[in-house]
Symmetry: C2
Subunit: 362 residues, 2 copies
């Protein structure tokens, strides 16, 4: 109905991802009251499963917003002095734009696009003592770069006065992120990527240290006030200050069962294998854009070494029921991106790559 | 599945409302890319239908958030001097809390609960010249009071430097709100009330005057930056700065067709008739809480003159597959609330009231 007469295009874009029909069907569950015991049980159940997926004992905030909203929550609620933004691309830069839009003092280090962040850079900035918040993008969809959080964590541990915020919007659910072991204070993610849900819900784990900091920050705002969100979790038994997107909570409850049933290690391994498969294809016919050391497990950014028209390729793929992504911003036509996350299996990818080969005569 | 073994309770609470199965089914539509032409067409189509429902030519902002998020957008984006909050209950007070949480200067006039706002009060405050923004709650679910916007509009027209923000979260879609004729600058609503959708989407019409004002305001924030939202509508052809809740947009597209097919005047008349029916019952067995002149068309707040246990009544109603609302905050057990909005018909209400009569032996 809503999508007109066109055929459905299977999404290989880095969000929203293709959503499994089981999850889509759960969205149609009849509504329940958001102040009911039934809702509290739902949010509590989802919290417990999210904690497993995130390897954390921290509180879990669910927000009816895109991930961007919780990135804003993270730095607006915790910055007293100054934010240090470690950017590796467009979504890293968004942290900086968010700081500016809120009148929060911030500096930015932007890696050359295609590169990851190294521990020395983090050390260099944090050692100045100027910063009480720092942000890192785990997986940057604009460049297909994934940072190595385990190499950065030891530096952050040296600076316990810094609230460490990590954007795992396009990695969580597909890549292992051990929040407590790494020491991440605020770990933000979103529904429409490796978690395999439709867009409309974002999620964050928040440490006690971050909540304590929020208590010292004025003008935290209302909708993304971390302490108000926490109050409804702790004092109202897993509820939300306003009305939450109940369909998304139903869907996340269902999908986390599937994720845990697949097994976290199996799921992460599947994502690595799919990434290696796509990179193998990319290197055979094109090249990959990022430094391979930092190549993402959820999305591959391919250098358009053949000078094809990505726009035309995508139009032709559309006729066959597929959609990939052009490059992001200045990388448009110079790169293109194939996402391989959430419920994708190897035969889905094979179907896409064979179609591309057919269209391009490779 | 997600709701366990309990029977579904038909919702007569003032949001989330009972959602029709046709709308629920549309939520399961497969995803589309949010940067696609298909998405732009969807948002454009929904915009045109919303303009009809709101009687406006203004731009329409769709936000992945609850209505509270857009209330925050409204005053954070437009206040340079000081906000005047005209409150008639808990959700009126929320405007004031939002202002405080953002460090925005604000004053509040709170009517005695159960009363509406009159034009003289508005005149008294606006004539001081202290305010450049004023907020009014059209329909206050905590008290069952609905303000008469048409009596207030002439005063607001006398003060063109004041940006007039109206919360129609629990009225739009059930009650006529002629935005342009009234001169409302920012009219905020939400999906889970008289529009008959699940929670998770909020909507606002915004006037040119309000956008111009936003251009003079610093620190508008990012997620609810009205000018960024407008930029994506105008320059990116009806898109959204981050990833929108696509299932909700599908559902709103579908539901607005139904609303327009029912006919706006028919729909508003149906809501008035249902309200009169519930008030008739309430006055026969109990009494209504608000001054009847201001009694809401979408939710009736009933004075518990019999001293029943509302909590027990609701538990027994639950066994029969119904849910009503206890009183709000300090009005708990002193009042209870029956919502009659969205797709409710007279036989739905009759079923509920007969059950209440049966339980209470009336």
């Amino acid at each position: 109905m809503s999508t007109g007469n066109s055929i459905h295009k299977k999404l290989f874009i880095p969000g929203p991802v293709e959503v499994d029909s089981g999850v889509l069907n759960i969205l149609s569950t009849p509504m329940i009251g958001h102040r009911s015991a039934e809702y509290s049980e739902l949010q509590k159940r989802v919290t417990e499963k999210m904690r497993k997926l995130m390897y954390t004992e921290n509180d879990i905030i669910f927000s009816t917003s895109s991930g961007t909203g919780l990135l804003e929550m993270a730095i607006r609620n915790t910055t007293v002095k100054r934010v240090m933004v470690f950017s590796i691309g467009a979504f890293g830069n968004r942290w900086f734009q968010i700081a500016k839009a809120n009148g929060i003092k911030a500096d930015k280090h932007e890696a050359e696009w295609g590169n990851g962040l190294n521990a020395d850079i983090v050390e260099k900035y944090l050692s100045t003592g100027k910063y009480d918040v720092a942000t890192v993008t785990h997986n940057e969809t604009s460049t297909g770069v994934m940072n190595h959080l385990e190499e950065l964590a030891p530096v952050f541990k040296k600076y316990p006065d810094v609230v460490w915020c990590v954007d795992t919007v396009s990695s969580l659910g597909g890549v292992k992120v051990e929040v407590d072991k790494l020491g991440i204070d605020i770990c933000v993610s979103s529904s429409q990527k490796a978690l395999g849900l439709p867009p409309g819900l974002s999620i964050a784990s928040v440490s006690e240290k971050a909540f304590k900091r929020a208590g010292t920050v004025e003008n935290r705002g209302y909708y993304f006030d971390m302490l108000l969100l926490l109050k409804y979790i702790r004092e109202r038994n897993f509820q939300y200050p306003s009305t939450p997107s109940i369909p998304h909570m139903f869907a996340l409850d269902f999908q986390l069962d599937r994720i845990l049933k697949e097994g976290l290690e199996n799921r992460f391994k599947r994502h690595i294998e799919l990434a290696e498969y796509v990179r193998g294809w990319a290197k055979k016919y094109f090249d990959i854009f990022p430094d391979e050391k930092y190549a993402s497990h959820t999305v591959t950014c391919i250098k358009n070494t053949r000078g094809i028209s990505v726009k035309e390729l995508n139009a032709k793929l559309g006729e066959k029921g597929f959609m990939i992504s052009n490059g992001y911003g200045a990388l448009k036509e110079k790169t293109f991106r194939i996402a391989h996350m959430a419920e994708m299996r190897k035969n889905d990818i094979t179907g896409l790559l064979e179609s591309i080969n057919g269209i391009l005569g490779l």
